[in-house]
Amino acid sequence: MERKDQPNRQNIDTNSLTVSNVESSSRPCSSSSNRGYGPYREVDTESIMSKKTTTTADNQDSDIENYDADENADDLISDFEDFEDIYTQNSDESSNGSVSDDDSANAMNPQVTLIADSEPTNQNSYTRLSQSFRSYLNASNSYQVQSTPESNEPLLPTFGTEISLTENSKAKPKFEAKCPLFYKLLDEANAFFSWDESYDLKSTSKLRNLFMNFENYYATLLIPISDNFKLDSEIKTKFCCKRMRHSSNGEIRHESAFDEEEDQDLIRSFFSADSSTDNESNLSQSSMARDEFHLCSLCCHCLYEPVTLICGCSFCKNCLNEYNVALEKTKAELNADSELQSNKRKLDNGLKDSIELYKCYNCSFVHENNSTQFLRPNVLLSKLVDKFWSKNVESRKLRNDLRNYVCFIIDNDLDNFKLSALERLFLKAYELDPSNHLLLADLFLLNYFDNCNPNCLKYAQIASELKPNWPFAFFLKSIYYLSVGNLNAVKENLITCLKLDPKLKILKIKLQQVLFKIDMSKAESNDSGIAHSQSHPNDDFSFSFVLSKFEQKSSDNNQQSVLNYDTSKYVVVNSHLVKPGELECSLCYRLLYKPVTTPCGHSFCCSCLERSLDHQDSCPLCKYSLADYLAERRSNVTQFLDKLIQNFYISEYEERTKQYYEDIKELIGDENEIPIFVCTLAMPNIPCPLHIFEPRYRLMLRRAIETGSNQFGMCMFTEKTPYQYTEYGCMLEIKSSQFTSDGRAVVSSYGGRRFKVLKSSTKDGYSVAKVEWVKDIKLTSETEMTELNHIHDDVYRMARAWFNLLPQIQKNRIFDMFNISALPEPEADIYTDNGPAWHWILLNILPIDSNFQYKFLTKTSLKERLLMIKKILWFLLAPSRHPKPNPMNSSSNSLTQNPSHSGSENANDLAANSDSNSNYGTENSESSTNSVSGFQNGNNNRITQNI
């Protein structure tokens, strides 16, 4: 069958029917029974086509024509004979098969119309089923061409294309089979499909929902809580009374109920010591991630269409979406639950968090919002997973196809299916990949919705053995036990589930509810005496029954599954499949080092991406806006890539790490080579607030922090030197730095050593300079020192006198600015490299131009500097020459408000003609200073002249 279908699928031409038949003869047929469907397939396809052309007569004609045209092959006849064999069998079986040759049947069920026309025999349901399958398979894209259906009949799908198919021509699910295996499987399974008139799928919509949403148990969590777990009002009131009693004792509410249970400690640990279990779980999770980094921690299967979160964890896109949907719903449900709300205070913090915060499932990283649906698949990861774990990915694709297929069938009301037929399909798939525990979960669901067929338990059992660390298997079991009313088994499995995954805070609520129900039933059984003993044998029966079934079934699977589990613990990566070149950062062309992944799914070295973001806030590869990503400023290493490279590209990784440290070493360089920030005048002991927004200085700042030097040189702009900044400068030590959401930085720094530039060069856009350190000349003779001491004391006195004349407001501002409470006392030792701190502070608050201040920086003699200050002070203090303190005060005000600003302002004036770019290292929000600076300059000129 499938051989014939394939050409049709690939060949989308409406006239490809002939082609398909011709090709079919060249392809081997797997079984004769398969071939038997040949004519029906053809006819069926035609029947579908006929839907387009509404007139029945035309249809028949064209069908017959086509049919005749197809009849050129001999094998068709044999097909036909095969079919008749099968058909007679089937018709014997079902005498009441629906005969579809009347008009109403035609209208209702177009798929079968033409079969009736071409085969004037009774239709039975069996063929009808295979018809629908076949028509589904064979649907060529002629349906795609047909944009609007002329009737309300469901459209049939096309493969490889999005199709609109309907329940009531409203819903538009997508069906797209990605896995070639799917077709094969479907055809194989076709052979086994059978029609059962009596079958009625009651809960199709429910099953459908489940298959759409069911990837992990978070989605399933929603179902039982509303249906089965809802406590009835009677129990509720009792429950409340009981709890009130407990809470008055200050104890955990279920404690008394399980005094005799050995699980009590365990249960208590779930409910009380929340933080400790959290830590444990972190450990266990991370260790799992180390061993099996290629697994999605939500489904415990190989990552499929992986997305990477900002925390560095990767999940299957589907898993994550469904997890988030489930999370939202659960949150809504819990918020709506009045009982929970009223007891919110009693909830442990962990539960509260899980209701209120968006935590990463894997690492508890708190995300700002739940916007993960905008994440795009991680490009590199998808590629790697495809190469390294191609079998797993294939199996996953197959499973997705199967699930979508089930949805599709249900959507199209093709529910004349026995679930066992679908089960068969999944079983076939499971045979192909016995390590895919997700298929087992699907099988469980199929059976569970088949009126709680106890078979489902065996699938959950196999799954739990296959993946003993997969909590979902145990959750499935608990669902089943819940439906059969075995509360103790529910409890056990929920506990196992919680043991494996203590983060499932929401499950705890359910566990509480179950525990309480058990509590209640016990209380009742104590009253009646018999109820308890009655329920037990029942449970035992169901369990042993299932167990025997399971043993029977799993005997052949067992060995395999054990083997699978063992190997899965160790990630096996054939590193020859992917060359290290493919793990290259597209920015630096080297092996990814500390790789990070953007929301658009592209991976770069952390430092490379940061650098690129300095320049533009979009992805370098796809231009996707990374403004939000940048604003979060919390990007973390993509675990998957990091682990892959570290564990399987060892030599390359070592070399890359070496390179990294060499880079760092070079950046630190020799002590006399420093990065230069060209902006303003910095002086020793003076704080210097900076606002850094130029890309190159952002890079410089990051590097200063990264290398741990935490400092850089500060020079003013000038045209007098070839390298366009002043010869002398001052080191600034970074005290703290804060990054804004758009990547700028506000830095508070502090003046340190002075330096003289010997040689300047550039590095990645900013300047670096070889410097020599400027230190005050050491005085040797006693007389010189006493003289200097005299001058020092003298100047300090004058400074104090001048300072005291300042109005209090100004003083306060100065104190705030320098974070001092008075003009600093003179140090005991004034013979340091920079001289006493107070004279730098004084210089900074004196109303003098920064170009003049700069001169002080260059002097290596403290005596000289002090004498210069003395002259200024003398000028300022002489009342005859400068009676009014007001203008002076206002200018000092401007200086004290922000020393860096006055510097940059002057530099700006100078630079206005030539290069404005280099001067915008800082900016200041206080624009009022502009008006003052004019006066300040004038004043300064006078002072300078006087000196």
């Binding site: 597209s586 920015l587 630096c588 062309y589 080297r590 430092s607 490379c608 650098r611 690129s612 300095d614 320049h615 533009q616 979009s618 370098p620 590869l621 231009k623 390179q659 060499e662 880079d663 070079e666 950046l667 890309p695 190159r696 590097r703 550039t762 590095k763 990645d764 856009g765």
Partner: protein
């Protein structure tokens, strides 16, 4: 990370040499590894067919964060290239991305030769001519190609 740039430039140069783009050659200057002598052959079915155009390409210090500087050395009649050889190409300006490379830049220039865009002109005179009388403009472009881009080699 001053190693970062040389590694990238080194690898780019290497790859350009190993797998050259058809119709484009880029050879680094012997004395300056950041300066490339480029020759782009006029694309077929364009007015520049048959010509070989010399360009200079310089990688600034901030490369790859800043785009390379490219200029036509051979005179060319093209609405997006001016008399000085400067090129109006978005990826050489605001649309630059550090994930682009020398190869992609040169390919884009080659494509620009195939598809002149008079709606976003650099040389208004040429662009106007291109809009008003395209056949005439193409004729001129062909003449220029013959005159400057064929003989000079």
């Amino acid at each position: 990370m001053s190693n970062l740039l040389p590694t990238r430039i080194l690898k780019e140069t290497q790859r350009l040499m190993q797998e050259p783009v058809p119709g484009i050659s880029a050879i680094p200057d012997e004395s300056n590894a950041k300066y490339f002598h480029v020759i782009i052959l006029g694309p077929s079915e364009s007015p520049y067919e048959g010509g070989s155009f010399k360009l200079e390409l310089y990688l600034p210090d901030e490369y790859p964060m800043a785009p390379p500087k490219v200029r036509f050395m051979t005179k060319i009649y093209h609405p997006n290239i001016d008399k000085l050889g400067r090129i109006c190409l978005d990826i050489l300006k605001d649309k630059w991305s550090p994930a682009l490379q020398i190869r992609t830049v040169l390919l884009s220039i080659q494509a620009l030769l195939s598809a002149p865009n008079p709606d976003d002109p650099l040389d208004n005179q040429v662009a106007n001519q291109w809009k008003i009388n395209e056949s005439e403009a193409i004729k001129t472009a062909k003449e220029w190609t013959k005159k400057y881009a064929v003989d000079s080699n």
